[in-house]
C-alpha cells in the first residue's frame, strides 16, 4: 500500500481499563494505530489480546465498567471523550461495524428491512418509507435473493450467512469511510465464510472504504489484508505489511502464531487391526413441531443411512458444515439418542441395548464436547468432576484411590494436580478442555468421540490440545472419532475422513486421498473455501 494516502483513523496511546471487583484490568495498554483511506488493516491476536476492546473503546461501546483514555482521531476529530450526541454523528454514518455473532447482533423483534433503514433514518433524516428504496438496493448489493420479500423477514427466518449479509448492508447504508469488522466470519461455516469475505472485498473495491479486520484467523488475514498489527495482552507486538509479517516475522509471538496452524499427519492403523465400533445404516429422525397433544407435523432426518467402521487405534475425522448431522451421528454411535441401524462394540451387538444395558459400556465409550464452558458443572470442583465417572464404574475404589487416579489423570493432560480442588471458572478455555479430556481418560476408555474439541480455542492452544490428544492415543491405544468443521484440524488428526452433508456421506476415504484428490464437487468446494484461506 502506498503511504501517500491520508490517515482516516489515527490512534495514539489508547488505553482501555476495566474496573472489576478484583482490581483494574488493563485490557489495552496504550497502543498506536493508523488506518489509511481504502486500505485493509488486520488486527490479529488471540482471545484477551485487547484487539476487540481497542475498537470498542474507540467507538464508545465498552461495557459499563470500561474506560478509554488516550486519543483516537477520525479525520482529525477526536473521538475519545466526545459527547454521545456528537459521537453518534460519526457512528453508523462515517464509521460502521459488523460483529462476530450475526445471530444475536440483530434485534429479533424487528424486520431486517427496518433495521437496515434505521441508520438511514437517523443519519440522513429519511422516513422509513423513503429509506425503503435504498434498503432494497442494499439487500440486492449484498446478494440477498428476492429482496422484495426478504425486506420483511425477521432475523430468525434467515441463515447465519444471510444475517451477516444483512449486517453488511446495514454497515454500507450510509457509505462509510471505515468499516470495522470484528471477527465477521468466525461463527460461520467455511463455505459461507469465503462468500462473506468475497463480498466484503468486492464491496470495498466498489466503494473504497477502509476496513479494519479484527480476527484470530491468520488464514483470512493473509488473503484479505494489506497491513497487519499483531496484538498480545493489550500491547502491539509487531506491525507491518502482509509480506513482512508472513515471510519475515520478527517477534517470537508472531512466529508462534504463524506456526500454530495444526500440522502433522496420522498413520493409519495396521490393516489387521480389529474393528472396535461399528454402526451400519445409522439413521436418526427428529420430530419438528407438534405439541403435547398434537402429533409431530414432520419428521426431519438428521442422519440418513450412514455406516461407520472404527478400527482400534484409528482416528476417523467427520467433516461437515452446521446441520450436516455430524454431531448427531457421533451421539447415535454411542447410543445416546434413539436411532435405527445395526451397532457393534467389539464383538458385542449393541443394536438393541437400552440405557441400562449400555451403562456398563459407557466407561469404554467416552465423549468430549466442544464447549469447555458449558460441559463442566460450575458448582463442582475439578476433582469431583473428573472422578464422578469412577463412582459409577468403579464403586469399589476408596476415596484415597480415587484421589490418586485424579492426580494421575490431571498429570496426564498436563495440568497441576492441585487443580482438583479448584472450580472450572478459574481455568482458561484450553485448561477446561484438558479437564474435560481428563474426565474421559480417567475411566480408561477404548473409544473417545471428540465433538469439535478444539473449535472454541485459540489456535496456539488448539495445537497443544491436539498434541495432547495424540499423546493419549499413542499411550493408551485409543480410537477416536473426531468431529469438526475445521479441515486443518481434521487433516492433522485423522487417518480416515468422512465428509457429510445433509445427513448423508458425500465422500469418504483415507485422509490423504480426500485432501489431495477429492472426487465430489462438495468436497472440492469445502477444500477450496478452507484452504484458499490457509497460509
Amino acid at each position: 500500500m502506498t503511504d501517500t494516502k491520508e490517515n482516516i483513523l489515527s490512534v495514539r496511546g489508547l488505553k482501555v481499563d476495566f474496573t472489576t471487583p478484583d482490581g483494574d484490568v488493563n485490557a489495552v495498554k496504550g497502543i498506536d494505530l493508523d488506518v489509511k483511506a481504502g486500505e485493509t488493516l488486520a488486527v490479529v491476536g488471540e482471545s484477551g489480546s485487547g484487539k476487540s476492546q481497542t475498537m470498542m473503546g474507540i467507538m464508545g461501546l465498552l461495557a459499563r465498567n470500561g474506560r478509554v483514555t488516550g486519543s483516537a482521531k477520525y479525520r482529525g476529530k477526536e473521538l475519545v471523550g466526545l459527547p454521545l450526541k456528537r459521537l453518534n454523528e460519526v457512528r453508523g454514518s462515517k464509521i460502521t461495524m459488523i460483529f462476530q455473532e450475526p445471530m444475536t447482533s440483530l434485534d429479533p423483534l424487528y424486520t431486517v428491512g427496518r433495521q437496515i433503514a434505521e441508520p438511514l433514518v437517523h443519519h440522513k433524516g429519511m422516513t422509513f418509507k423513503q429509506a425503503k428504496v435504498r434498503v432494497l438496493e442494499l439487500l440486492k448489493l449484498v446478494g440477498i435473493p428476492d429482496p422484495e420479500r426478504r425486506i420483511n423477514s425477521y432475523p430468525h427466518e434467515m441463515s447465519g450467512g444471510q444475517r451477516q449479509r444483512v449486517m453488511i448492508a446495514m454497515a454500507l447504508a450510509n457509505e462509510p469511510d471505515l468499516l470495522i469488522a470484528d471477527e465477521p466470519t468466525t461463527a460461520l461455516d467455511v463455505t459461507i465464510q469465503a462468500q462473506i469475505l468475497d463480498l466484503l472485498r468486492s464491496l470495498q473495491k466498489r466503494f473504497g472504504m477502509a476496513i479494519v479486520l479484527i480476527t484470530h484467523d491468520l488464514g483470512i488475514v493473509k488473503h484479505f489484508a494489506d497491513r497487519v498489527v499483531v496484538m498480545r495482552r493489550g500491547d502491539v507486538v509487531e506491525r507491518g505489511s502482509i509480506k513482512d509479517i508472513f515471510e519475515n516475522p520478527q517477534e517470537d509471538y508472531t512466529k508462534m502464531l504463524l506456526a500454530a496452524e495444526p500440522s502433522g499427519t496420522k498413520e493409519p492403523p495396521a490393516d489387521n487391526a480389529p474393528i472396535i465400533l461399528e454402526g451400519r445404516n445409522v439413521a436418526v429422525d427428529f420430530a419438528i413441531g407438534g405439541g403435547f397433544f398434537t402429533s409431530a407435523k414432520t419428521m426431519f432426518r438428521a442422519v440418513d443411512g450412514v455406516s461407520v467402521r472404527l478400527k482400534k487405534g484409528q482416528t476417523i475425522g467427520i467433516v461437515g458444515e452446521s446441520g450436516s448431522g455430524k454431531s448427531t451421528l457421533g451421539r447415535a454411535l454411542l447410543r445416546l439418542l434413539p436411532s435405527s441401524g445395526q451397532y457393534h462394540f467389539g464383538s458385542k451387538n449393541i443394536s438393541n441395548f437400552d440405557r441400562s444395558a449400555m451403562r456398563p459400556l459407557r466407561r469404554e465409550l467416552q465423549l468430549v464436547f466442544q464447549d469447555p464452558y458449558g460441559s463442566l458443572s460450575p458448582r463442582q470442583t475439578v476433582g469431583e468432576i473428573i472422578t464422578e465417572g469412577l463412582f459409577i464404574h468403579e464403586p469399589q475404589l476408596s476415596r484415597a484411590e480415587r484421589d490418586k487416579r485424579a492426580i494421575a489423570a490431571l498429570k496426564e493432560v498436563g495440568l497441576d494436580p492441585a487443580a482438583r480442588n479448584r472450580y472450572p471458572h478459574e481455568f482458561s478455555g484450553g485448561q477446561r478442555q484438558r479437564i474435560a479430556i481428563a474426565r474421559a481418560v480417567i475411566l480408561k476408555p477404548k473409544v473417545v468421540i471428540l465433538d469439535e474439541p478444539t473449535s472454541a480455542l485459540d489456535r496456539s492452544v488448539q495445537g497443544q490440545v491436539i498434541d495432547l490428544l495424540r499423546d493419549l492415543q499413542d499411550k493408551h491405544d485409543l480410537s477416536y472419532i473426531f468431529i469438526s468443521h475445521d479441515l486443518a484440524v481434521i487433516k492433522a488428526m485423522s487417518d480416515y475422513v468422512i465428509v457429510m452433508k445433509n445427513g448423508k456421506i458425500v465422500e469418504e476415504g483415507d485422509t490423504e486421498d480426500i485432501f489431495e484428490t477429492p472426487t465430489q464437487n462438495y468436497t472440492k468446494t469445502l477444500m477450496a473455501a478452507a484452504f484458499d484461506l490457509e497460509i
Binding site: M59, E118, Y154, M170
Partner: protein
C-alpha cells in the same frame, strides 16, 4: 390468528368444567352448610329450606342440575342474600371492581415499568437502590396496613380525599383504593422490568444499535424495552385477573360495593352458589386474560406469532 383464538376459546370449555367440578365437590365436602347458623333452626324449618333449595337430593343430582343451569347462565339463587340471584349480585358488584381494578392495573403497569426502567438505566446507583427499596417495601407491607395508614393521613389528617365509599366514582374517591390495590403489583412490575431491562441492555443487538449511532431514546425504548417487556406481559395475565375480580380487603377498607367481599362472605357462610359463582368468574377472567396476553406476546415477538 382467528383460528388461534377459536382454538383457545374451545379449550376453555374443559378447563371451566374441571374448575366447576372440583370446586363444587370441595365446597360440599367442607363441614357445615348455608343454614347452619349459630342458633340452630328448628328441624322442620331446616327441612323445608333444604327441600326448597333442592339440598335434600343426592349430591350427583344436585351437581348435574347445577351444571345444566350453569350452561344456560343460571348460577342459582344466593343462600344468604336471599332476594338475589348470583348473576344479580355479580352484575351489581362487578362494574365497581372492574373499574377499580383497571385503574389499579394501569397504575401498577405504567408506574412499575417506568420505575423499573429508570432503575435499570441507573443500575447500582443510588436511584436504583432507592427505587428498588421502595418497591420491596411495596411488596412486603400488606394492603390492610397501607390502606388504613393512607386513609389516616390523606383523608382524616389532611382531609384531601374522602375516607371511603364510591361516591360518584370520581378520582378523589378512587385514588386511595387504586394506590392501595395497585402498590404491591407495581412493585412486582418494577422488579420484573428492572431485571429484564438490565438483561436486554446487555444484548448484542443493543450494542449494534449503539454502534450505528441511534439516539439513546431509540436504543432504550425501541430496541431494549420491547424485548424487556415480554416477561412483564407474561405476568400481566394473572395480575389483571386478580385485580379486576376485586379485593375483599381493599373493598372492605374503603367500603366499595364490589364483588371482592363475596369471596369471603360466600366461603364463611357456606353460600355454595355464591362461592361457585365467584370461582367461575375468576376462572373466566384468568382464561380471557391469558388469551389476551398470548395475543399481545405474538404482537411483540415475531418468533411466537400464531397462525
Amino acid at each position: 390468528m382467528f383460528h388461534f383464538v377459536l382454538r383457545r376459546l374451545a379449550s376453555a370449555v374443559p378447563t371451566l368444567f374441571i374448575v366447576v367440578t372440583i370446586s363444587f365437590f370441595l365446597m360440599r365436602f367442607a363441614p357445615g352448610g348455608p343454614f347452619n347458623l349459630e342458633r340452630p333452626l328448628p328441624p322442620a324449618t331446616m327441612e323445608n329450606l333444604m327441600r326448597a333449595y333442592h339440598l335434600d337430593q343426592p349430591l350427583w343430582n344436585q351437581y348435574l342440575q347445577y351444571l345444566k343451569n350453569a350452561v344456560t347462565g343460571d348460577f342459582g339463587p344466593s343462600y344468604i342474600y336471599k332476594d338475589n340471584t348470583i348473576a344479580e349480585l355479580i352484575g351489581k358488584g362487578l362494574p365497581y371492581s372492574v373499574q377499580l381494578g383497571t385503574y389499579a392495573l394501569l397504575f401498577a403497569l405504567i408506574g412499575g415499568v417506568l420505575i423499573g426502567t429508570i432503575a435499570a438505566l441507573r443500575q447500582n446507583s443510588f436511584i436504583d437502590f432507592l427505587v428498588m427499596s421502595v418497591a420491596t417495601t411495596g411488596v412486603t407491607v400488606p394492603n390492610f396496613v397501607v390502606g388504613p395508614i393512607m386513609t389516616l393521613i390523606f383523608a382524616l389528617m389532611l382531609a384531601w380525599v374522602p375516607a371511603g365509599g364510591w361516591g360518584d366514582g370520581s378520582l378523589k374517591f378512587l385514588i386511595l383504593p387504586v394506590i392501595t390495590l395497585g402498590l404491591p403489583q407495581l412493585a412486582v412490575f418494577a422488579r420484573l422490568t428492572r431485571g429484564s431491562m438490565i438483561e436486554a441492555l446487555h444484548a448484542d443487538h443493543i450494542r449494534t444499535a449503539r454502534a450505528y449511532g441511534l439516539p439513546a431514546k431509540v436504543v432504550v425504548v425501541t430496541h431494549a424495552m420491547r424485548g424487556a417487556l415480554l416477561p412483564v406481559v407474561s405476568y400481566l395475565a394473572p395480575c389483571a385477573a386478580a385485580l379486576l375480580t376485586g379485593s375483599a380487603v381493599v373493598e372492605s377498607i374503603f367500603t366499595i360495593p364490589g364483588v371482592g367481599r363475596y369471596f369471603v362472605l360466600g366461603a364463611i357462610n357456606r353460600d355454595y352458589t355464591l362461592v361457585m359463582g365467584t370461582v367461575v368468574l375468576v376462572a373466566i377472567f384468568v382464561i380471557v386474560f391469558n388469551l389476551v396476553v398470548d395475543i399481545l406476546y405474538g404482537l411483540l415477538d415475531p418468533r411466537v406469532r400464531h397462525d
